[in-house]
Amino acid sequence: MPIGPFGIDPVIWAVLRLVIAAGLAVFVLLNGALAQTLLERKVQAWMQDRLGPYHVGPYGLLQSVADALKLLTKEDIRAKLTDAPFFLAAPAIVFTPILASFVVLPFSSDVMGANLSVGLLYLTTLGSMTVLGIVIAGWASNNKYSLMGGLRSAGQLISYEVPQILGLVTVVLYVGSLSMVDITNSQPGPLVNALFLPFAFVTYFIAALAETNRNPFDLPEAESELVAGFLTEYSGMRWAIFFLSEYGAITVVCAIMTTLWFGGWHGPGVDAAPLLGVLWFTLKTYGFVLLFMWIRATLPRLRIDQLMGFCWKVLIPLALVNIMASAVIILAFADPRLALAIVNWLLLGGLVFGLPFTQRRRLLGFRKRTRESVAMRDVRLSP
Amino acid sequence: MTVPLGAFIAVSAGLFFIGAAGVLVRRNAVVILMCVELMLNASNLALVAFSRRAGQLGAGNPLDQRGSVFVVFVFVIAAAEVAVGLAIILAAYRNRPTVNVDEIRGMKG
């Protein structure tokens, strides 16, 4: 048991360390969420050729502070018939797994919560617990639209967990370990995993977009469709907790992508100064966050049957083929990277270039059948 | 002071018999399914506890992972069973809109 600084009793230091670590995690999560709300509005504004928030603070940089103050002081409106304990518990059930995910993210070789030997499985498990909170939120609001939004969101989330895990499995097959530190250390220098596992990366990226309810998969919180989906009855600080957990989930998912496919904390100068790893990790993670926001500003929204069809009929079969091929290659070759790269880039090319062909054939089939059924109707009606 | 193996087995037995009582007494089909899940969980706990005990008999004892492997298969079977069970409940619900097993007696002579 290590003696704490200033000679504190070891037991008190152990408890104090726990409290400080939890406080740091909450601090990082909250500040990340604040930064991301502002970043999102500014980035979307610049992409839409306007300025974004501009009044509060220099260049609108204090807008998040104003948002936070507003949310804190808002009245807590609660409809009378909502199921009170579940209504109140749902934001906590959604927020807690996201907070708990921060413990295994490898910010640097020294700066880490815990190097679990099953770190990646832990992150996946926590990701699946947030679905429960969303279902409870939809149910407890006693509101038809919330219930629909909650169930649709749950269906989308559990469907897209499968390609998410299948994408991760390919990397784990190659690295041979579930520990985040081992995965980072398997990519020394500029030879990152994305060079020879790009299809797994794209699968995980698309599934992560769906898992965090981001465009083009944000039907559950689409404002024009279901009021606000399962969030309808939540206002003020309760809504803020859902919002925080969404941005926290985005941060965790981007951190996973950085670790698995882009080298994690590696970058120029890390060997000399290990703390520089934190900078590289944060820069790479926020690069992906910016990519998420870029996609949100660009693409239109998918309908629920379109996104389910895409998951089950396109992503999952291709991901399964990828895993089979990767497993065979890893067993067959001593250095499987070249063969893995060939298979992955081929599959990626098939996905990107093949999708328009199959969709075009399907659309033509629809048009033909619609024309036929209309023609038949006219034939029957004529005297 | 470590926890003896018997404590884990006692908890497992307690949960199993609570689940069994639930299956016998409750009338709601979904609740019966939940109690069956409790029973499966109880057997999982017993399996893992005994597997760990067997693993302590000696380093590299080849018997020490059979319990844990069986637990993985119980997970798979429990998931499949809940899916099919709920499908059956929904299909019966479509016929006559009730989940009370006393009222679903179309096959009773």
Binding site: L116, S117, W139, L151 | L5, G22, V30, L38, N44, R94
Partner: protein, 166 residues
């Protein structure tokens, strides 16, 4: 000083398991029952962690809390639950249930304490690699059979709830 931590954690998880399990059987409100079942599963995962089986604990949370609880909640939401209550404790089977629980269950639970071997946490670094080794070498055939079983369950569940398109 931290010696008491393990029995304390065991006690907390055991209370969680037995208490939540009893509530699942005894309560009336079905949403409360579903969530208490999830609490049972989570306490069970904690118990697995105490036994040193962390992979199985994470699988437990992933499969049971993350998927089966949601399936059951879907089942609850798509059917109309009648809360009238059908005389919960005075069914025809209550004497049988009481007999099984008291006459068989309680002695079994007490006899279980005759296993006096202590479970010590193993220092060999987790159960992921031994479990994976066993599963994919000695038990690869049951693994494949389980996959086929899952496929059959998937197809069967879809066929059962499919409505004829008119």
């Amino acid at each position: 000083m931290f010696d008491i931590l393990e029995p304390l954690l065991f006690f907390v998880f055991a209370i969680g398991i037995i208490g939540a399990g009893a509530c699942v059987v005894l309560l009336r409100r079905i949403t409360a029952q579903a969530l208490l079942m999830a609490l049972t599963f989570a306490s069970m995962a904690g118990m697995f962690l105490l036994l040193g089986a962390e992979t199985i604990a994470l699988f437990q949370v992933l499969i049971y809390v993350g998927a089966i609880t949601i399936l059951i909640l879907f089942g609850v939401m798509f059917t109309k639950q009648d809360d009238r209550g059908y005389g919960l404790f005075f069914q025809r089977q209550t004497p049988w249930a009481a007999a099984i629980t008291l006459v068989i269950g309680v002695p079994v639970a007490f006899l279980a304490f005759s296993f006096k071997d202590p479970i010590t946490p193993s220092a060999k670094g987790g159960d992921l690699i031994p479990l994976a080794g066993s599963l994919f070498t000695d038990y690869a055939f049951p693994f494949e059979v389980a996959s086929v079983l899952l496929l059959a369950a998937l197809v069967g569940a879809i066929v059962l709830v499919k409505q004829d398109e008119r």
